[in-house]
Amino acid sequence: MAAIEMVNIVKQYGDGFPAVNDVSIDVEDGEFMILVGPSGCGKSTLLRMIVGLEDITSGDMVIGGRRVNDLAPRDRNLAMVFQNYALYPHLSVYENIAFPLRLKGGVPESEIDAKVREASATLELDEHLERKPGNLSGGQRQRVAMGRAIVRDADAFLFDEPLSNLDAKLRGQMRTEISRLQKRLGITTVYVTHDQTEAMTLGDRVAVLKRGLLQQLATPRELYNQPVNLFVAGFIGSPPMNFLPATVKGTGVELPFGTVRLSDEKAQKVQGKELLIAGIRPEHFNDAAVVDSSIAGRGSTFRATVDVVEWLGHEAYAYIPYEAPPEVAEQLAQLEKDLDGEVLRTQLVVALDANSKITKGEEAEIWMDASHLHLFDPASGDNLTLD
């Protein structure tokens, strides 16, 4: 086991473009770290610098206290999990797991046996060990591939978008398997994904990257509740946070659907500003008719015409279009580009209680909990109202 420290890492290609720009991330021993961001954010390049596939232009890569910048991949004792998914039909599950040890040459049979059995116990493959892999389920096959990584006794596990080529059902199943495995083995893990749901459900901490720059390094909860900028706020959460034009008026802000009062603390932070971008997540809205009376008082209500309602059983989403001034529309268009075209049309997405009776085309009274409102600077994108 080992900690992985990335210190002021820069990766510059021949054309001078910095694919990774001054990134510092410390992965603690045993920690599950996620590198997440849209394509071109530098996450895979960073992982490859950990593996040793990419040269590091400047900065230090330290694994287990040892600077590894100049070490070849094979000398770093890391395991790329799922690098080899192939199962060999004529070899038993046991041998499918054991072959990396056989490849080392000279490993005593007793040691191979102990390691394979330990891995199979961890992966709950014991009863399949002597069978041929042909009849294993999709999930079991993936576990065999994980077994190969386990027997290597690596200092850390690395995953590069491991679930992107699986179907949705197997993807969900494997997410749980990977999480369980990592907790059981307590092995330092770096996991690259573009999928914020994977990031949020798997990681102890998540590093959000955009165009080679580290945006925020925090726990999933902190990213969700305290995003440092518009990009992180828009990237984390599904459906994404709503962004609305907001004009500061005294101790409140004027939104397209009415004015809301800010807490003294927030009002203080945006004093002197004019046009801002307000961010609020869909679940901080509701149908005013069904809001629990115990919390109704801390929010405010407004009336708006609902364009579309999607009912999902446990809740529903209502879509309410709005107009945005050019400054805000421009920043939102840029944000949409940064998020790989994740749709951020100028419409409000509102989560409604499943009991709500609001229907499409109806003018409804919507409740909003303004205590969760974030205010962003439209020029820099910074969150001005962090706690």
Partner: protein, 394 residues
Amino acid sequence: MRVLASSPNPAMLTLPWGRPLADWTEHIVPVPRGLSRHVVRVIQLDGVFYAVKETQEQIAKREYRLLRELGRRGLPAVTAVAVVAERPNDLGSALVTRHLAFALSYRTVFGNGLPVGGLPLLVDALVVLLVRLHLAGFYWGDVSLSNVLFRRSAGEFAAYLVDAETAELHPQLSDRMREYDVTVGCENVFAELLDLQAAEPALAGQVDPFEVIGSITERYESLWHELTAEEQFSTDEMWRIERRVERLGELGFDVEELAMSTDATGSTVSIQPRVVEAGHHARELARLTGLEVEDNQARRLLSDLASYMAHNGFSDRESAAHRWRREVYDEIAGMAPTEPSGRLEPAEVFHQILEHRWLLSERAGREIDIFDTARDYFATVFGRLPEEKLGTAD
């Protein structure tokens, strides 16, 4: 359903896309295969063979583009023909590639009785493919025997890439990425050989997987060095430039660009091939005769052409080649039994006839005529060969 295709084939739309590939029964051609992450099947449609792989749309499209790009650059890979997306019943997308004629998987090569001694030939073919891909900036990510198909090439094999799912194309590949590809390749081939031994116990005592992967690394490094290393010599050894170019030609590569420099005193010269292109013999043969064959087959045919010229006293290579094609090569191709047609491709048949002539001549103690050889070959050898074209097997 949406189909992205390079050359639209309406029949493609008639396939049962609404059912999972694993459940297809019509059009399926049985071929030996390993266990891959995705369902892969070989199908026959209007007499043409295709491989169909079920995967996610983004991955299928990416691989489609990569394979098309390899094709554009003349690198040996299967041809991607279509991506089928938004299939009925929420089924995954599919990548369709055209199956190479007369191409064999490594499992089939051994199934067709390749002697164990032939294993280094497969390894060599894999290494040549890997070096060619690396020279083009192509990182494979999953080098293995399963991910290539082999075509016979006059006693050797030529390897074609069939799976580019993990691959990436870069302007240039770093040494580390190349090394990593070789490391991964060694791991995969090692496991594939263990698997092969488990399937064919007769191979067990005869193949040493450690020796094989040792030779992958060694052969790769040596070929890479031959093709890319800088060489220094004094100005009175300028003949070494020509020798280097000739040596690369022997290896089957043409030098398209050679960097040369001298030191400050002008007494030492450095040369380094910058752009080399495989297919030295194939290009030469195609220029002379219009025949398009594998490089080693071309080497063999060119050498037959050379003896034909000497034998008949020709001095002009172009006109000799023209006559050789018409009076020898095409004549012999025309002698092959028309049924069944799937045993070997014509250039490989010609190579085997040349081998057969050598045997007959040695036995007779004199040179046997090529046409007499061909008659004997078709009568005694050809009929016993295993079928190697898909769909012609029993």
